[in-house]
Each structure stands twice: as C-alpha cells, then as structure tokens.
C-alpha cells in the first residue's frame, strides 16, 4: 500500500525502514502466536496424521471439536468455571470495596494496625496454606462443591488495597457535601463512592475473574467429580485420561477453552479503554 508513493531517495529509506519495522513486528507476532496457531491448526487435523508428525493433512475438519463436545464434559467444566469465577468476582468487588471504604471513610480504633494486618496477608501465599485450608473446608463439609472454591476467595487484601487508593482519590468536597446532605455511610458508599470508582471496580472485577478462572492447585485438591471441576483441572483430567495421546481432541478442547477468554479479552479491551478515558474526563 505504500508503494504508490513517489520513489525519492528519502521515501526509499523511510520505506526500507518501514519494511524493517513490519518484519520485526511480524517476527514478534510469530513468536507470540506460534504455539497458539500450532495448537489451533493441529486441532483441525485427525490424530492419526498428527502422530505421524505430519504438519499437513487432507482431512481438515471440525471432527475433533465435535468429539470434544460430545465425548468429554468440557462444556460442563466451562460452566463450572463460569459459576465459580462470576461468584468470586461479584463478592470480591463487594467485600473489597466495603472494607476499603471502612479504611478510608470510617474512623475507628486500631484502624492503621488493622490495615497493616490486611497488607500482611499479601505476604502469605495461599499455596503455602493449602494443608490447613483443606482441613477447614473439609470440616465445613464443603469438599467437592462450588463453595469450596469460592468462599476462601470472597475477599482479597490486594483488592482492598487497590480500592482504598481509588477512594482516597475522591475529592474531599464530595464527602463534605454528603455529610451536609445527611447521607448515611451506606448511601454515600452505594450512590457516590462506588459509581465514582467505577473504573477501579471494573479493573478489580476483571482481575478477580481472571485469577479465579486460572486457579489450578486449589480446585485440584478440593474437587472430586466433573459436576464441580473447573475448566483448568478439567483439561488436566482430559489429558490425564487419554493414555496414548489423542492430540487432535486435546488441542480442540484447549481451543474451546481459550477462544471465549480471548474474545472477552479483545472485546473487553475496547470497553475498558473507553472506561479508562471516561474516568480520566471526570
């Protein structure tokens, strides 16, 4: 498309530079997309051809997808993940914003110490606490249930920290005016604080949804049936039970799992960018 330009020396150099830039970008694209495209491509090939090491097949089809959907619980896994991640996200946004609100707008004894305590939890990795947590959910009778994968993550120190920063950036006048109007804390929180920090709430929502979606170790320890198993562990399950690799179908399952998240990401990117701008204008 750049070729129609007059061929002066200057544009030649510029063109050469441009080509160089495109080559670099394409190379990086290849690096980033390579494994994904390879997986996507093999998901369309019959496993028999894949096992021979072929990279081309005359039988390109969606058969592997049909097989994955009809013979494996992959859709059920997706549903489980959707339920778990959505619940986690909703509660995290609610509870984190509530506790952040308390740290910013309420005055109470040991506020500073309590906040330090919250921050401390960011130093304690959940992965190092799975043993006692397992006993806890076991004695609560929550094993093999959505609750086991949601309840421990109803709140998060990180989210509280982030929303506290957001609340602190609200203009002082707003709270003063609300006090004059006689708004209760609940009213101020619900009608002013939350809408005002919409962008941060969205960010936290996206973040908590994704982290819940990507949980692996904890659901692996606490789920024992396909009725509750989320998709990450479902894929592990599918891969583990194919005793000699049905690569085509496994790649198809992976694609089924990844394509919705990619779509959300791409569509969401636009939306969030708009959200960010909106937040900047305010």
């Amino acid at each position: 498309m750049e070729m129609s330009q007059p061929a002066t020396t200057g544009t030649n150099v510029a063109n050469a530079k441009k080509v160089g830039q495109y080559v670099l970008l394409l190379f990086l694209t290849f690096l980033v997309l390579g494994p994904f495209l390879l997986g996507l491509w093999t998901s369309l090939m019959p496993t028999a051809d894949i096992s021979k090491g072929a990279l081309w097949s005359s039988h390109i089809s969606l058969d592997n997808y049909v097989a994955a959907i009809t013979t494996t619980p992959i859709l059920r896994y997706l549903l489980n993940s959707l339920v778990i991640s959505t619940l986690t996200m909703l509660f995290q946004v609610l509870l984190c914003s509530m506790s952040a609100y308390a740290f910013v707008f309420l005055k109470f004894k040991y506020r500073k110490q309590l906040f330090m305590l919250f921050l401390m939890t960011m130093m304690l990795p959940f992965e190092a606490e799975v043993i006692p947590n397992f006993s806890t959910v076991r004695s609560l009778g929550l094993l093999n249930h959505y609750a086991a994968m949601v309840i421990p993550f109803l709140t998060a120190a990180f989210g509280t920290f982030m929303l506290r920063q957001a609340f602190m950036q609200m203009p002082v006048e707003l709270k003063e005016a609300a006090d004059v109007e006689g708004l209760s804390h609940w009213q101020f929180y619900w009608h002013l604080a939350l809408p005002y920090t919409k962008v941060s709430l969205m960010t936290l929502a996206a973040y908590s949804f994704l982290s819940s979606w990507n949980q692996y170790l904890w659901p692996m320890l606490t789920t024992f049936s396909d009725s509750f198993r989320p998709v990450q562990d479902g894929l592990r399950q599918l891969q583990g039970q194919e005793s000699f690799n049905n690569w085509g179908m496994i790649q198809a399952s992976a694609a089924i799992v990844v394509i919705p998240t990619l779509i959300i990401l791409f569509v969401g990117q636009h939306y969030f960018k708009a959200g960010l701008n909106e937040g900047a204008v305010k």
């Binding site: 093999n144 009725s227 005793s243």
Partner: protein, 445 residues
C-alpha cells in the same frame, strides 16, 4: 449509574438461571441409590469401566453407579484418606496394590470378606494368587480387580524386516541388549532400541525378579517393616544393564509419568522404538494401534540367574465404610458384577489386565483374542509359571508412594549419568528415614 445497576442485576439473574441447571442434572437419578465409584483407569480401561457401569445400571433398578476418574494411583490414595467421612467420599473405589497396607491400617473400608460371607459368594472362582495379595489373616480386605503383569514388548514385524532374531520368551538382560543393539545398528539409528520408563513399579519388579525383598519382615508380610533396601545386587545389575544400553546409544529416555508412557507408546506404534517394558494392561491399545505384529516376552532377568517371577501388579476394589448400608450393598452388587466370568473376559480383551475369574478363559471373546494374537497369552503364562513367594507378592508397607518417587528419581539420575551405587544409596537412605518417621508418627513398634 442506573446502567451499572442493570448490569449487576443481569449478571445475578444469569447466575440464578445457571445454578439450578447444575441441580437438575443431579436430581434426575434421585429415585435410585447413588453409588459413586472412584477409579484411576485411563484410555480403554476407562471406556470399559464406563461400559460396565452402564450395563450394571441397566441390569437393575435399585442402584446407579457413577464412575469418576481420580487421576493416577498415587493421587488417589490421599484423596481417599482425605475425603473419608465426608459427602465427597466414594462408595466404592479402586486403589493400587501397594496402597493396601496403608488403607487397611487407616480403616476406611468394610472388609470384602464381610460381603462375601453374608452373600455366600463363591470366592474360589477368583484367582488365588491375586486374592492372596489383598487378604490378611485369611480374610479378604478388598477384591482384586485389575491385575497385570509387567512384560517386555517388542515390534516383531520390525525385527523381521531388519532381519533380527527375536528374543526368547524368557529373556536375560543380555538377550535384550543384543536385540536392542541390532535394531539401532541395522536401522542406522532411525529406530531406538529400548526404553525402560523411570518408574518405581518397574524398579520393584527388577527386585522381585531377582528374588530380593525391598522391605524387611519379608516385604512386610510378617510384620511392619522397619528397614528397606533399594541398593542391592539385583537393582545394581538391572541399572548396569540399562546403563550399558545408554552408553551404546541404543536407549531412549522418555522420562517419568503419564507423559512418558504416552510418548513411549506413541513412538513404539510409530515404529520409532523397538522394545520397551511396561504393564500388560497396554496390550489392547498396542494391538489396536499398529498393523505390525506385537511381540511379548516375560520380564527380563539377570544373566546367569533364574527369574524369580514378578509381582501381580494392579489394583483392587474397596467398599467404603462411611456410607449407609444400602449404598454399601449397591457397591457390593457392582463388585460382583464386574467379577463375573463374562465381565472379566471382556475386561482382559479390552485392556490387557488378566481375567481373574477362572471361568473367563473359556469365554468366546478371549478364545478369539488368543487365536488372533497368540502373544496376548504370554502375561497369563508368565503368571502361571511363577511360584509365589514373599519376594514376588508385592510390598505390604506404608509409604510405598515415597519409595516410588525415590526409586524414580534414582533411575532418572542413573539414566543421566550419576553413579549407580551413589544414586541407589541416596534413595535407600531417604526411604529408610521416611520409614522411621512414619513408624514413629503412627506409633508402630
């Protein structure tokens, strides 16, 4: 703001819609007693188990068996112990041979003998060698279900094509080395000669076949083990044999775990690997996966020493004692169902695990299999020609999973160049420490 609200309510509404969907799927079979069955079978074994459950459910209207795959044998043991007494626990479960001692001591199951007696079940129909593995003081703890033999597979057609003489049916290490070398040389390195997976179970079989005990008190059969041995003349000889093949470049290492097994089978089926040792449970997959003729021999033994025989490997079925009587009864009915002559014959044909019901051998499906693939009989012949003793009846000890990890690591080290003696000594010390701790923590004398 109103917009945001709407969005929230929309999401909440979606959730309310979705949640009952899950509930519906579960309440559909409420009229029957639900019997959750945990297993660790993959591939054709899993398919066959699903088929058994389906047939069983169709054969009666009181119970509904739900098979659930719980990962590999190692994972399942702790899952069983962890969930015991909760609503998540299974009614009937499959657990591997070497976990028997641990589950027995943890008292999580109703002894199988209880159901056998109450039902006047004719247990003599079931192979005594397999039964002995899962009984204590003449009482059946659990029901042997899938029993396999470790064997050696080779690609018979490939050997023919390359003009190599097939190994004898009871090969020594050097017999296999000869064949592996020839494969490598005559294919100009295109086909790898041999692999032995980094797998503690295969390591144990080298010991059993050399008539060596892994644990004292006759592998735990006469008392709780207090000392273990991994660094023995037998294991040294086996590792030296592998090392010899590595040095010559005829050996390929696929690593450990299910990935390794998938990869070695894929390579074997694709004609890129000549020989490997593995469980007989893979026979049906190997027969189905290639047009080449499949060769099977006994597990190889040390040169100049007769084979002592390998242990029956596999797993047994247990009935949990934390479920109501009706559920346990349902579990027992299912166990009986899968142990019938017909089901066991079907099981062997579908997988490669040996049919344990004595009447299975005359079933048409097995007769047909033997006629088509005479080599499919080798594992049963190997078992039939073994004289049972405590060295080849498996280890009755807690913490065998630890042993498997340590042995596996030692194998990985040796395959990658560590001194054999050193690697085995480290593993042995690690296991002895662990056994001492286990005994101390559980107050075993």
């Amino acid at each position: 703001m109103a917009f945001t609200h709407k969005r929230w309510w929309f999401t909440l509404g979606m959730l309310l819609l979705i949640l009952p969907l899950g509930a519906c799927a579960r309440s559909e079979a409420a009229s029957r007693t639900r019997v959750v069955f945990w297993h660790e079978m993959t591939g054709p074994g899993q398919e066959q188990l699903k088929q058994f459950a389906k047939e069983f459910n169709a054969s009666q209207s009181k119970y509904r068996v739900e098979p659930q795959f719980e990962g590999n044998y190692n994972e399942a043991v702790q899952k069983i112990l962890h969930t015991h007494g909760t609503s998540a626990s299974p009614a009937v479960f499959q657990s591997m041979d070497v976990s028997t001692s641990q589950l027995y001591h943890a008292k999580v199951a109703t002894p199988m003998q209880h159901f056998i007696d109450a039902d006047h079940y004719d247990i003599n129909k079931i192979s005594p060698v397999a039964r002995a593995f899962y009984s204590q003081k003449d009482s059946q703890i659990s029901m042997p279900f899938n029993t396999s033999q470790p064997v050696l597979y080779y690609n018979a057609s490939l050997l023919k094509r390359l003009g190599i003489k097939a190994p004898p049916v009871d090969p020594s290490y050097s017999d296999i080395t000869r064949v592996a070398k020839a494969i490598s040389a005559k294919s100009h390195g295109k086909v790898k000669g041999l692999t032995v997976e980094e797998y503690g179970w295969l390591f144990e079989q080298f010991m059993a076949n050399s008539n060596e005990h892994l644990a004292n008190h006759e592998d735990g059969r006469t008392g709780i083990p207090t000392k273990v041995h991994l660094n023995t003349p037998g294991t040294q000889a086996a590792m030296k044999w592998v090392r010899e093949n590595i040095k010559a470049g005829d050996f390929i290492d696929y690593g450990a775990g299910s990935q390794a097994e998938s990869n070695e089978i894929a390579a074997f089926l694709a004609g890129k690997l000549g020989i490997f040792t593995q469980s007989s449970a893979y026979i049906s997959q190997l027969l189905a996966g290639t047009k080449d003729e499949l060769g099977i021999t006994y597990y190889p033994h040390q040169d100049g020493k007769p084979r002592n025989g390998v242990a029956v490997g596999g797993a047994s079925l247990w009935i949990s004692n934390d479920k109501p009587k009706a559920v346990q009864q349902g579990a027992w009915e299912f166990v009986k169902y899968v142990m019938t002559a017909k089901a066991q014959a079907q099981w062997q044909a579908a997988t490669g695990y040996l049919a344990l019901n004595k009447d299975s051998q005359t079933q048409p499906i097995l007769q047909k299999l033997y006629k088509q693939h005479p080599s499919a009989q080798v594992p049963s012949q190997q078992l039939a020609t073994i004289k049972a003793n405590t060295a080849n009846s498996g280890v009755f000890m807690e913490g065998v999973i630890q042993e498997r990890n340590l042995a596996q690591t030692a194998m990985a080290q040796i395959y990658n160049g560590t001194d054999i003696n050193k690697a085995l000594a480290v593993a042995e010390k690690g296991l002895n420490d662990s056994v001492a701790n286990t005994n101390r923590a559980n107050h075993y004398k």
